[in-house]
């Protein structure tokens, strides 16, 4: 279907349908699991495996088409715009959770504590939650019988600061890799990519370690009330994105090793590096607003 100069149009493909089956199985698997039905986890894992199969097959097709030279500049531009807008939508997803955090801290907590400056706030506190004093972190939520609160929270300048340094460094190493790729410095490229992957893995290890401390020692859990809620949901979704990003980095490193990319053919590489920078920037937001301020 493609010829020189015209836009490459792919043939009919079965990968999207396989992707639908994957997401469908994951959706009903997860819902069933939550409801305690035995089939739930199996369906979820089945869906996940199908999803990996789909991604492997779909991307393999794309890589073959790319290496066969089907894609001109215009297809490349489509991919770039596509990845850019995808990251934009991801930013908006995190925006919802950051918005929830800011709303809670600036409006909800003072309102419940009677310090928001309105009659309604004073009455809410007096009539409903007279023992609630507010503040952030919320060590003692309004109803401590249901949401127990926590003993302490994670320190700013402990693991979180180390993880900040790790992610910032990984942002530098992937830029190094980009430079090496453009300059044909193959050894440096592989070395800096492996380094980036390792930094991603160390970050994830430290975060898991942090979660363990939170649950075991500090009593900081998802059920601790609003502080635990925002802490784990924001860092958790970020951690999920770091996991996805690390997997993508590993694949890209393997593709670098196979010499798939050149200075004029590096969309796959750049897409992953954009994604990694995005994850990096989200973390900076987390460090400032979740751990620090």
């Amino acid at each position: 279907m493609s010829s020189e100069g015209s836009y490459y149009l792919p043939d009919p493909s079965h990968w999207p349908l396989i992707g639908c089956i994957a997401l469908f199985s994951m959706a009903i698997g997860a819902a069933n699991w939550i409801h305690g039905n035995t089939i739930g986890p199996y369906l979820l894992i089945f869906g996940l495996l199908v999803l990996f199969f789909m991604m492997f097959g779909w991307f393999r097709t794309v890589i073959h088409e790319s290496l066969a030279g089907h894609y001109g500049d215009k297809v490349d531009t489509s991919f770039r715009w596509g990845m850019g807008w995808f990251i934009f939508s991801e930013v908006c997803f995190f925006g919802a959770f950051f918005g929830a955090l800011f709303y809670t801290r600036w409006i909800t907590i003072p309102s419940l504590a009677g310090t928001y400056g309105t009659q309604a706030s004073i009455h809410t506190n007096l009539l409903l939650w007279p023992n609630f004093t507010g503040g952030w972190p919320v060590f003692h939520p309004p109803a401590t019988k249901i949401f127990a609160g926590m003993k302490s929270v994670m320190e700013t300048w402990g693991i979180a600061a180390i993880n900040t340094a790790i992610l910032l460094t990984s942002g530098a190493t992937i830029t190094w890799a980009h430079w090496a790729l453009v300059k044909h410095k193959r050894k440096q490229l592989i070395f800096s990519m492996v380094l980036t992957v390792l930094l991603g893995i160390v970050f994830l290890y430290l975060q898991a370690h942090e979660y363990a401390i939170a649950y075991m020692e500090k009593g900081l859990t998802l059920g601790s009330g609003i502080y635990g809620t925002t802490f784990f949901m924001l860092t958790g979704f970020h951690g999920l994105h770091v996991t996805i990003g690390t997997i993508m980095l590993i694949i890209i490193t393997l593709r670098c090793a196979r010499g798939h990319f050149g200075p004029n053919n590096l969309f796959g590489f750049e897409a992953v590096s954009w994604y990694w920078h995005f994850v990096d920037v989200v973390w900076l937001g987390l460090f400032i607003f979740v751990y620090w301020l």
Binding site: L17, L23, F86, F93, A96, T104, P141, F147, L222, G223
Partner: protein
């Protein structure tokens, strides 16, 4: 733009018959299914979106008729209140996510590549995925009707704590189906925005793009901005229900009002997602049948952009009675009123386009003119609702129901129907039956007003929305509304019949179809060949 097109023709296909209106597939049911399931062709995928939308239109419509049957007279008639709540919930969800949105995306699939001179959508495989996720998502949503407990019964807005502490078990299936719809919408919007930005034919500058393409550019941007927020909202509901979080629970330091903020940050732009493509359609149809260029074209584009920006900062007008502070109420009131300015510009431009035009009133034009008048009524009632002290009275009454049905039925839906009549000859190669089309129009426009106009009075008199039973004094208007609704429902069968008849036969359509047609899609043969603009046209 249209006067200066040098059409370099469609090089891959001649002007034969139906053999070029599809891929070459073997005979039999399996190859036929395979063609539609695996297709990467924008016209195929557009067709699939439109048919899914039409199917869901009858499903959601049947639910609406059940609701109107129950409300025909006071007292409980045919269903218990819980089932009534399930019907209002599913009716809303299906009409928004299953009818209007897929139909708009279907039109974008069919038209955007042809209008900008592109060979297809930018990412054809992703396009297939965006569509086929929807049948799976709606399978999950519909399956909730058969689950233990009940289907979702908290209204399409699924406010916490109705959906958290008090939601039925099926709520979790609803949540995951919304996730699938969201993934579908995000990927679909991404594809459309990339197509518009990257696939325009040489010479097709941004300002030369048809208004329909412009509206979809803005719509796609809004979808990418707010569908992830909806995903966040349902995720928070899910974790509040099952994983111990307290986003929306004051006992843990959260706030049910937070739900409304997150939801309406998605929800208000969503209504522009539903209406923007309709604006685009009307801006194509009115000039065609007025045989004039669109009045104030560039202002139309600025108005669309202004509406999109404003739509992101007005969400709390849905929350005037929740106790938000006075300063917030004032801000959101004035910001909402400001939207009337660009909307007024658009209505003014449509009317000015018709002014002194050589107008004819074929079915698409009838729907378009009805759109301008009746959407404006919906806009005015929206303006009334934006006034904070007035909204204290209107909130949660039938006045709100009347308002949003006026912008959605003679607004979005009429525009979509106008679009189907307008472009059907280009899609099928046949003219539709004009007499049947006019019957469909007049029955629809009369019955729609009979259904929804009395709801204004009911609301002003104080009838609350989302109730299966009501006080005696509301009986007359409710009976009238129910009669109108059933007539409207029957009228849509004429629409279905007309489409099927047009697909199967009818007068051959010419390339240009309409005397006053403008734009690249009218330069390719009717029916449009399976692949158009493999070599881009040159737009001067």
């Amino acid at each position: 733009m249209s006067d200066a097109i040098t059409h370099t023709g469609d090089h891959t296909h001649g002007h034969g018959h139906d053999d070029h209106h599809g891929p070459h597939i073997k005979k039999g049911i399996l190859p036929w299914i395979g063609r539609w399931v695996f297709t990467t062709n924008h016209k195929d995928i557009g067709t699939l979106y439109l048919w899914l939308s039409f199917l869901m239109f009858f499903v959601g419509g049947a639910m609406a008729l059940l609701i109107r049957a129950e409300l025909f007279k006071p007292g409980l008639q045919i269903m218990n209140p819980d089932f009534f709540n399930q019907m209002t919930t599913l009716h809303g969800l299906i009409m928004v996510f299953g009818v209007i949105m897929p139909a708009s995306v279907g039109l974008a699939n069919w038209l955007v590549p042809m209008m900008i001179g592109a060979p297809d959508m930018a990412l054809p495989r992703l396009n297939n995925w965006s569509f086929w996720l929807l049948p799976f998502a709606f399978t999950i949503l519909m399956s909730t009707l058969f689950m233990k407990g009940s289907a979702p019964n908290f209204g399409w807005t699924f406010y916490a704590p109705l959906s958290t502490s008090y939601g039925p078990p099926s709520t979790d299936f609803f949540i995951f189906s919304v996730h699938l719809m969201g993934i579908s919408s995000i990927m679909g919007a991404l594809n459309i925005i990339v197509t518009i930005l990257n696939m325009r034919a040489p010479g097709m500058t941004m300002m030369k793009m048809p208004i329909f393409v412009w509206t979809w550019l803005i719509t796609a941007f809004l979808l990418l901005a707010v569908m992830p927020v909806l995903a966040g909202a349902v995720t928070m509901v899910l974790t509040d229900r099952h994983f111990g979080t307290s986003f929306f629970n004051a006992a843990g330091g959260g706030d049910p009002l937070l739900f409304q903020h997150v939801f309406w940050f998605f929800g208000h732009p969503e209504v522009y997602i539903l209406i923007m493509p309709a604006f685009g359609i009307i801006s194509e149809i009115i000039p065609t049948f007025s045989r004039k260029a669109l009045f104030g074209r560039s202002f139309m584009i600025y108005a669309i952009a202004a509406i999109a920006i404003l739509s992101l900062i007005v969400w709390a007008h849905h929350m005037f009675t929740t106790g938000i502070t006075l300063s917030a109420e004032l801000f959101f009131m004035y910001a909402t009123m400001l939207i009337a300015v660009p909307t007024g510009v658009k209505v003014f431009n449509w009317v000015s386009t018709m002014f002194q035009g050589a107008m004819t009133f074929e079915t698409p034009m009838l729907f378009a003119v009805a759109f301008v008048i009746l959407f404006t009524i919906g806009g005015f009632s929206g303006l009334m609702l934006s006034i904070v002290p007035a909204d204290f009275q209107y909130q949660d009454t039938y006045f709100v129901v009347a308002h949003f049905h006026y912008v959605l039925v003679p607004g979005s839906l009429f525009a979509l129907m106008a679009a189907v009549y307008f472009w059907l000859p280009k899609w099928t190669g046949h003219m539709y039956n004009e007499a049947l089309g006019k019957w469909h129009f007049w029955l629809s426009v009369i019955s729609m007003n009979v259904t929804f106009f009395p709801m204004h009075f009911l609301g002003l008199a104080g009838m609350p929305r989302r109730v299966p039973d009501y006080a005696l004094q509301f009986a007359d208007f409710n009976a009238i509304a129910s009669v109108g609704a059933f007539v409207f429902g029957v009228a849509q069968l004429l629409f279905l019949a007309n489409i099927i008849l047009t697909i199967r036969g009818g007068k051959k359509a010419t390339t240009k179809v309409w005397e006053g047609s403008q734009g690249l899609e009218w330069t390719v043969p009717s029916p449009a060949p399976y692949h158009t603009f493999a070599t881009p046209p040159v737009v001067k």
